[in-house]
């Protein structure tokens, strides 16, 4: 059963068509990677799905509801969470407040001014727990803007997964992390997406082939393949357009 479907989605900026009639089905429960060269339109596709950009044409359904061109907050409330390629956190709020804010809506607190956050013991415990998982517990009281780059990336991930949404979309979550940080992040991603659906943009082929159940390849705004990792790797079109020898070799090593 597909949880997210894109039907003929197109997006133009001025005269340039960046996304050109994309059809994509994300199955509930799968881990789906989107790969493609720089400038292929991967982030733009994320922006279209999450409501940051308006579609030029096409339809997007999430759990049988049409979500195209709805504001981001409505889409988020339906259970679609995302992270950003360029860190996008709340710099003056503490690290703790950042993840707690990410939890508020799904907790049913909404715009309430009758609840005191300090009294939400269960919520606060969950926020602390999440900080432990992303390895930022000892930075809980720091302003998020003062964190080191890799820590901000971890927090970016933390804010995205805080809501506990069913569909989690991560745009290059480990870019810029050291090897060990990336490894930790990947195992965290694997853990928190258990029983959920993950759509992830990633350049590191080791990680992609390691984590993904299915892979879609986006080149110049078009999906040229959407299949299992093995099938994608064997696909001559993909090899020609994107996957270099090095990437294949790396992926091969990883499998062995």
């Amino acid at each position: 059963m597909s949880i997210l479907s894109l039907h003929n989605v197109s997006k133009s900026f001025g005269k340039t068509e960046i996304i050109r009639g994309v059809n994509l089905d994300i199955q509930a429960g799968e881990r789906h990677a989107i790969i493609g060269p720089n400038g292929a339109g991967k982030s733009t596709l994320f922006h279209l799905i999450s409501g940051k950009y308006q579609l030029s044409s096409g339809r997007i359904t999430f759990r049988d509801q049409e979500i195209q061109n709805r504001p981001p907050y409505e889409i988020a409330r339906l259970g679609l969470a995302r992270s950003f390629q360029v860190t996008n956190i709340f710099p003056r709020l503490s690290v703790f407040e950042n993840v707690r804010c990410g939890m508020l809506w799904q907790q049913g607190l909404g715009y309430s001014f009758r609840h005191l956050l300090g009294r939400q013991t269960e919520l606060n415990a969950r926020a602390i727990h999440l900080l432990e998982e992303i390895n930022l517990a000892d930075r809980a009281d720091f302003p998020a803007g003062e964190l080191a780059y890799a820590q901000q990336r971890a927090l970016e991930l933390g804010v995205a997964i805080a809501s506990g949404a069913d569909l989690i979309m991560l745009d290059e979550p480990v870019a810029g992390m050291s090897l060990s940080e990336a490894e930790a992040a990947v195992s965290l991603i694997r853990k928190i997406t258990k029983g959920k659906t993950l759509v992830m943009v990633e350049h590191d082929m080791n990680i992609v082939f390691d984590i993904a159940d299915r892979i879609s390849v986006l080149v110049y705004g078009e999906i040229i393949a959407s299949d299992s990792p093995q099938a994608v790797r064997a696909n001559p079109k993909v090899q020609e357009a994107y996957l270099g020898e090095a990437a294949l070799a790396a992926a091969g090593d990883n499998d062995a």
Partner: protein
């Protein structure tokens, strides 16, 4: 608990002030402070907590105040019958209604758009106040008498000190509620939207709705402050809702420190004091106010509250006292330098006539005075600059981590 003690302390100070200083002037000043505290706190809800720079916050203060005066008139003529202790609530409701109306279109964006709309609305309301004379009373404003209506436990509010205690109660309750607001989901999301409105939308919140809620709450408390103004002065004019009043509340919040809940309280107290006391000594107090604002923006971007909070680390390490002497060594020439500048300004102002400055009598016609002033100014300037080094060293020493592995604040 520390927080609880702070609130009790706040209440004790509010209620105790008239016991310590009971002159007519003191009570007048306290009443002004009470009004300013509520007003400045409400302003910081917009700017400090919500990231909305308003140049027209006096609109909600003024409209609340005007309606409050009219409510007093209605009590006097027995159109309505309720205790005047509830007048600030009348002001608050009008502030809220006005904010709901304006906020419905002005909170769409923060930044320049919001600032410009606030300026425009401010001008518009100030202009209409001179047009709709029956409500605003034209240039003369409207006045009332607060001593009608049912007495409050026997108190009839003939005296300013009685109004002060009433105001103090309202100030305390308003402060508590404004503080609690910062601890709610709506209040916390206001900070989040201030920091990054885009991301807030991706975690389920409409930035506009979040701003709107802060804006309305802020308008309500500005109206409460306007109601306190009406009770205290028993009259109100166009001046209380125009750009001058809007500018003053911005100064208070900024000088006090936007990033801290108590910042605006400090700003309100300091500016009210300067306003009332300094204006007795010099006609140039507005100039000094402007100078203080510029200096604060340049050297204390987090305001007075930020300056105080800078010392938290040293205090927690028990090293605050080690800063006393270094501050004295640098502070003395700094104050003398500032004093020479002020003396020079006053001498220019009192061209041709002797005048009292502190314990001196200065005369701008006397070349010797100018020379002495220049000498003191130059000497204290260089003494101050030379002493900065020792202050820096002492500061580093007081704030240095004892343990290199120690992370952030415990």
């Amino acid at each position: 608990m520390g927080k609880f003690a702070a609130w009790v302390g706040y209440l004790i100070v509010l209620l105790g002030l008239p016991q310590l200083f009971d002159s007519v002037l003191a009570i007048t000043i306290f009443n002004q402070m009470a009004i300013a505290i509520v007003f400045a706190l409400s302003y910081n809800m917009l700017l400090g907590q919500g990231g909305m720079l308003s140049f027209g916050h006096a609109v909600y203060f003024g409209l609340g105040g005007f309606m409050a005066v009219h409510a007093l008139i209605m009590i006097e003529f027995e159109t309505v019958y309720f205790s005047i202790t509830l007048i600030p609530l009348v002001g608050g409701l009008i502030g809220l209604i006005a904010a709901v109306f304006v906020g419905s279109f002005s909170t769409h964006k923060a930044g320049t758009v919001f600032a410009m709309i606030s300026l425009g609305i401010g001008e518009l309301v100030a202009a209409s106040s001179l047009i709709f004379v029956s409500f605003f009373g034209g240039e003369a404003g409207v006045s009332a008498d607060r001593t009608f209506g049912p007495p409050f436990f026997g108190v009839e509010f003939f005296q300013d000190v009685e109004i002060y205690y009433l105001s103090a109660g309202w100030v305390f309750v308003s402060t508590v509620f404004m503080y609690l607001f910062t601890q709610t989901p709506a209040g916390r999301m206001a900070n989040a939207v201030r920091d990054n409105p885009e991301r807030a939308e991706f975690i389920g919140y409409s930035a506009r709705r979040v701003r709107f809620i802060s804006f309305c709450t802020s308008g309500f408390f500005a109206g409460v402050a306007g109601g306190l103004f009406a009770l205290n002065y028993e009259f109100i004019t166009e001046e209380n809702l125009n750009a001058v009043t809007s500018g003053r509340v911005l100064l208070m919040a900024y000088i006090g420190g936007l990033g801290y809940f108590i910042g605006p309280i400090i700003g309100a107290v300091v500016l009210t004091l300067m306003n009332s006391l300094l204006s007795n000594y010099t006609e140039l107090w507005m100039l000094y106010l402007g100078m203080m604002f510029v200096l604060t923006v340049l050297f204390l971007p987090r305001g007075f509250a930020g300056f105080i909070m800078m010392h938290q680390t040293a205090w927690l390490r028990g090293k605050l006292s080690s800063l006393f002497l270094p501050y004295l060594i640098t502070g003395t020439p700094a104050i003398m330098f500032g004093g020479s500048i002020l003396a020079a300004i006053e001498m220019l102002h009192h061209e041709g006539e002797p005048f009292g400055f502190l314990f001196l009598t200065l005369d701008s016609g006397n070349t010797l005075h100018w020379l002495a002033l220049a000498a003191v100014g130059a000497a204290s300037y260089f003494a101050c600059r030379r002493s900065l080094g020792q202050l820096n060293v002492a500061w580093e020493e007081a704030n240095r981590m004892d343990n290199p592995t120690e992370g952030g604040p415990g």
